[in-house]
């Protein structure tokens, strides 16, 4: 039998204070960054605006693109070159009707090098639709979380639901914070990745909980702490293998999936790592803490 991890007996729960501090520090750093940035950095999907990926037949420079855009009053446009000197991503905040905006930008682009260009991607969202989308997606994440709590409360117990919920919130907060720290935008697809993280992290957590539930039935006398530790060790091989295979494909997506899907794949990668970590170091300790707290209340 070829095993990754042999006969382990790691006392995961003894590290729970350290893990809590690390998680706390990372979340705090992310939150500070978000506050300093004045909220999460939303893409045009939620904020409104125009994003144009343009390919010029002749190579040009960021400066000349910026100059052309300044002439029409979009001097604050974010312009990013795609490696070569012929493909650019232009990002303009919304001001007037998006339709007029797009038309003026087209004219400006036409003024560069005789106007031979191809628009590979154009996305423009009016501020109104952006706001609505934001509301929709936030309620989607909240509804998913609520559904999950209800499901776990029914299949397990309420305290497990709390453990899972804390772990989920932890994962989403860390990913959100990391996006803010790295100055990356939250787009529709990134939000979809968040929802996937919610599902995946939970998947991981439930596998552990399932084992805890099973062991708790058989070995009541051992104490809850050692039951959880045993369960974490028993499921460790599975946790590591599944995370590795999923991480492998997500990393491949990140590096070979193309430019368009990169932010999405990045969110998935971060969420996967954090989700695996949280199912060991966050979800179970929370359940333990809740259990100990309940027992204390009973005794007093």
């Amino acid at each position: 039998m070829f095993e990754l991890i042999k006969n382990v007996n790691i006392d995961f729960l003894s590290k729970r204070k350290l893990a809590g501090m690390i998680s706390g520090a990372v979340i705090l750093a992310g939150l500070v960054s978000i506050v300093l940035h004045g909220g999460p950095l939303y893409s045009i999907d939620f904020e409104g605006g125009t994003e144009i990926q343009v390919l010029f037949t002749e190579s040009t420079s960021v400066e000349s693109v910026r100059e052309a855009l300044s002439d029409i009053g979009y001097g604050d446009a974010a312009i990013r070159s795609f490696g070569n000197e012929d493909e650019f991503l232009i990002h303009v905040k919304t001001s007037t009707k998006s339709e007029e905006q797009v038309n003026t930008i087209r004219e400006a682009l036409a003024s560069i090098h005789g106007g031979s260009y191809e628009i590979r991607r154009l996305e423009t969202v009016g501020p109104k639709i952006g706001k609505e989308l934001k509301g929709d997606m936030i309620s989607a994440v909240l509804i998913a979380m609520a559904g999950i709590v209800i499901y776990i409360s029914i299949r397990f117990q309420f305290m497990y639901a709390i453990g899972a919920l804390v772990a989920l919130t932890h994962d989403v907060l860390i990913t959100l914070g990391l996006f803010s720290l790295l100055n990356m935008e939250i787009s529709l697809s990134v939000l979809a990745a968040f929802l996937f993280i919610v599902g995946y992290s939970l998947n991981d957590t439930i596998v552990v909980f399932d084992r805890v539930r099973e062991n708790a039935k058989e070995k009541r006398h051992d104490g809850f702490l050692s039951v959880i530790n045993l369960s974490l060790n028993q499921t460790l091989n599975r946790t590591v293998i599944t995370s590795l295979t999923t991480l492998t494909v997500v990393l491949i997506l990140l590096f070979f999936g193309g430019e368009v899907i990169k932010p999405f794949a990045f969110a998935l990668t971060v969420g996967l790592v954090v989700g695996t970590y949280s199912s060991i170091f966050v979800a179970s300790p929370v359940v333990l803490a809740w259990d100990e707290n309940q027992k204390k209340k009973k005794n007093s």
Binding site: Q53, V102, R121, L195, L202, V250, G257, V260
Partner: protein, 620 residues
Amino acid sequence: MSGNLRMRVFLVVLLVGSAAYMLRDTISYYTMDETQREALIESGEMDEMRKNIIHQGLDLQGGMHVVLEVDLEELIKTRVEDSDAEIDALISNSLDEAQNNESEFFPTFAKNVNATNIRLARYFPIYEKGPNSDVMDALEADAKDAVDRAEEIIRNRVDQFGVSEPTIQRQGAWRIVVELAGISNQAQARELIQATALLEFVLVHEDPQLLDEVIRNIDKAWAADMGEEISEDSTDIVAEADTTVDETPSLADVLSGDEGDSLSITGTGDVGRPFSSLINVGSNTIWVPEENVRSIKRKLEKPAIAAAVSSDSKLAWGVSPRDITGDGRMHRALYLMKGTAELTGDVVTDARESLGGFSGAEFVVHLSMNDEGSREWTKITAGNVGKRIAIVMDGNVHMAGVIRDKIADGRTQIEGMNDLQDAKKLAVVLRAGALPAPMVIEEERTIGASLGADSVAAGTQATVFGFILVVIFMAIYYKGAGLVADIALVLNLGFTLAVLSTLNATLTLPGIAGLILTVGMAVDANVLIFERIREELRNAKTVKKSIDDGFNRALTTIVDANLTTILAAGVLWQFGSGTVKGFATTLFWGILCSMVTAIFITRTIFMVMTERKTMTKLSI
């Protein structure tokens, strides 16, 4: 083999077989070359095929997704007469307020109006005089009608976009979503969506000889065109024409019994008459069986063939197919009309559907015109009693009604609608030609075909690469059992794609990512089972007992864990839009299929393996 196991094996074979069957169209669609595709389009089989395949999302094949919203500011401005600072401020403040508070405009406007003692009827003379609430209701109805008109205009133009499956959908009361796949000229498409409609009243030629002549001329031009084509490469258009005609023998009898006049049925399918062999003629109108419409349209667009119709006439298609033979076969009308319109739609002041006609219970449309239009209309109707006049929007005939009498006051009643829906639609079309339907693009997402192709290539590469790595890993780590898991993995991917094909689902770039993720996660169920089996083996149980216990114990875990991910995918599907929905769909079905393959199929394989002899060692 025990009966239970035999049943299991049978079910597995059945599942694999049906998946392969479900995938057949998708596989042949994406592996065929251009000429085969063309042939299927010509024969009309493509439509049937496209119902059973996985479609590529706009982000993969390139295309346009546009959300149009009624431009209330523009609409109201054009409705206000004698405007002053007070009404202007009231309107623009209400617009701003609604936008900032994410509330509806009309309730906001009503609230602001009530706060003043303005009398709206003064500024909106086009609506009937009444209290403010009536005027506001009329204004709101007007705005809603603008969305109806815009939608009808876009639907009417769908053919001109030149895309295979455009979708036009209403979103709430004020928005229209238009999706055009594989569009090559973005600017032109954008204009087509927004341009105002041209409505015309055009007389239909009621001259059988003229129609005959035109058909003969087209036959000649078509045959010449075909000759060229055959000399270039020998296509089988001739043979096609033959078979189509054979299927329509009874039409003449039915039609003549019905209408009784001027019928000439053509169609022996000889090479010299390629056009007339595809059509039927009745009541001075060409009737084209639905399956021939596409190929005839293409031919008629060729300049050489279009020139066969003399310049003082033109051919125009009717919009709605009709079952003129009464046997369920649908035909589209092709009218030979005068080259110039008698009247254009800007003279229309209103058009409303209602009940009327001879019995008073027929569905009719009441059409009213302004003074200038009425005068012209009187002349036209007086001179052409008994002839048909077509209502044409942007080149498509929506109705060709017979003029019964001279209409002197510009108030016309149009009869012959099948139901209220038909009448409503015609009324909207008539209004669309006269009243502006100002719409603005609130959201547009356009992906160029080249970027889409890049995404497909990158996504496919990533999927294949990831898939191979996972397969190799499983084989190394779990050896024999790993190979069984690999079989399950291949089947999982196949099943997922099969379900997506049957659902006629759209695969987007995030959808491909969802597919890759399921590959990664599908092994999870097998990992859970295998780890459990290893544990049982360590407890010195027999191979068979270990496998049984391993599967049984892992089962609840697998179900519990996967159901939560499915739950998240379901929520995503419910709230997500476009590309996000594609992600949710593949994730949802992928995980569901992985449960079937991991729990049922791998277990069956193990059962078959351990059935014959008592195994003492398991490769895991």
